[in-house]
């Protein structure tokens, strides 16, 4: 079914009884050309682009729970292309272009909203770093505008400009940055992949990866064995456990990142704002809730819930930046499992096992990367060669020293 405004109106007139499921619920076949482990944003986007860009439609996506039940369903929905390092810069630039065409491409409203993103700075040194970053973004073909203190005040008059601890010197405005409806992104890609013939198999957990003579031949699942010559591991926080089924150790440690949502308020924050003193960032959802988050909990965890010291830290940062936030009630918080790489950048690469590919290490920046990650992973699985914008996301870059340490914070997993 093709969605349109007319469809919404006519369905509304006839009791909305004519809508059909957005995707099928097929039983797994005995063999596929390619299997994708993980039905999250990245996995579904990979399946979609495998079918659309490479004509590979005999593909299964295996999801242990339901579609979009992982990090794509629990994140703070920020979309941006404000990276500095060659390797990251062109990748996220490519991703932002795909975001801009996504709704037309998928025939799905993902509520992509380019409301502008402002990174605040609080010292001369931070300003210099942001000038440099802004120039890198412009050189890459994206947009960046340096705002002074008064420029920030025009956009964000509600910030506490009088504070002395973290005085606001200015901000870097990225007008094409913004947010999108995270669940809709998963559903849009799921529907698009399904329409092109991809089997989305839910409640199907992979329990083993079958390897013969150094080549992948299939997977074992809770719904039986499935054969395939190509298998992609795209499971975010669970990358280490799935890779261990193939006898691999990854440069990944899993950590918890917490986020918070307040009660619904009238429109008050128009942009996405990030506060350079910590990792505090905030935006307002279309439903009205303020969505904000901060740093990792800083120690390896799969608990899917956070600890209180980081809750306190995030609230402190919010109150320092915009005291008005203290009047809002926090409705809920959650902790997502992030697969942290030692340099803060992702991995999209082949493994040493023929036919086994991996897409992981998104740290806590995976949402904005969904379209380009799918695009590049599909290219890699279909052609066997890395896509030109993801060529530096190598699995062996830690051994060879070709790191992509965007923040310059070192080689510890929890520091990114």
């Amino acid at each position: 079914m093709r969605y349109s405004g007319l469809k919404v109106i006519t369905q509304g007139l006839f009791g909305n009884a004519g809508w059909t499921p957005a995707w099928r619920d097929p039983a797994p076949k005995a063999e596929y050309d390619a299997i994708i482990i993980g039905g999250g944003g990245h996995g579904l986007a990979t399946a979609y682009y495998l079918a659309k860009n490479h004509g590979l439609t005999n593909v299964a996506v295996l999801e242990k729970s339901h579609i979009g039940s992982g990090n794509i369903g629990r994140n703070t929905t920020i979309v941006r292309a404000n990276y500095f390092l060659p390797g990251n810069s062109e990748f996220y630039s490519h991703s932002l272009k795909l975001w801009e065409g996504m709704e037309a491409d998928l025939n799905y409203n993902v509520m992509h909203s380019q409301r502008g993103l402002i990174n605040l700075f609080h010292s001369d040194g931070q300003r210099d770093a942001f000038v440099r970053r802004g120039n890198a973004m412009i050189n890459q073909g994206d947009d960046a505008i340096l705002l002074d203190r008064e420029g920030v005040r025009e956009h964000l008059p509600y910030l506490d400009f009088e504070q002395t601890r973290f005085p606001i010197y200015g901000g870097l405005l990225h007008p094409r940055g913004g947010s999108a409806r995270h669940d809709a992104v998963a559903w849009g890609y799921a529907r698009g992949a399904d329409q092109r013939g991809v089997d989305l198999i839910q409640n199907c957990e992979v329990t083993g990866i079958d390897i013969a003579n150094g080549k992948v031949v299939g997977v074992q699942t809770t719904r039986g064995a499935i054969r395939a010559k190509k298998v992609g591991i795209i499971v975010a926080g669970r990358s280490s456990q799935v890779a261990a089924m193939a006898g691999m150790r990854l440069p990944i440690e899993s950590h918890i990142l917490q986020a918070f949502v307040t009660e619904g308020l009238k429109p008050v924050i128009n942009h996405v704002v990030s506060f350079g003193m910590g990792h505090f960032y905030i935006s307002q959802s279309d439903k009205g809730g303020l969505v904000f988050g901060g740093d990792l909990d800083f120690y390896a965890s799969y608990a899917s819930r956070g600890n209180l010291p980081m809750v306190e830290h995030v609230m402190e940062a919010g109150m320092t930046l915009m005291p008005m936030i203290g009047r809002a009630k926090v409705l809920r918080s959650w902790g997502g499992i992030m697969d942290m790489s030692p340099d803060g950048s992702p991995i999209i690469d082949k493994t040493h096992i023929d036919g086994l590919f991996i897409d992981c290490g998104w740290n806590y920046g995976g949402f904005k990367a969904v379209p380009a990650s799918g695009w590049c992973m599909a290219h890699l699985m279909a052609t066997g060669e890395s896509h030109e914008v993801a060529r530096k996301f190598r699995l062996d870059r830690f051994a060879t020293g070709h790191l992509l340490d965007e923040e310059g914070t070192g080689s510890q997993h929890n520091l990114h």
Partner: protein, 87 residues
């Protein structure tokens, strides 16, 4: 979460600095092959369950601790001084 430091007793998590998996204790010998250094510095088992990792009692006795911990429940079943462990 609270950690029971062998020297200072039961203390708040905020007194401690987390370093990472205990792999950091197994430093390869000088001249070891590249793969050993990659293993030591970057590659991790990263279990969902029992793990052993290193914490520094920064706001206390300044000792390095080896903590046995469940990454799913945050339950801590053992804390040892790294100094005694490697003696």
């Amino acid at each position: 979460m609270r950690l029971k430091c062998p020297l200072c007793g039961d203390r708040d998590r905020r007194e401690f600095y987390y370093y990472g998996a205990e792999d950091y204790l197994h430093r390869p010998a000088e001249g070891a092959p590249l793969a050993d250094w990659d293993n030591y510095l970057h590659l991790r088992d990263n279990p969902a369950g029992m793990t052993r990792d290193l914490w520094y009692h920064e706001a206390g006795c300044a000792q390095w601790l080896c903590v046995t911990r469940n990454t799913v429940t945050h339950e801590i079943s053992g804390v040892k001084l790294v100094a005694e462990r490697t003696k």
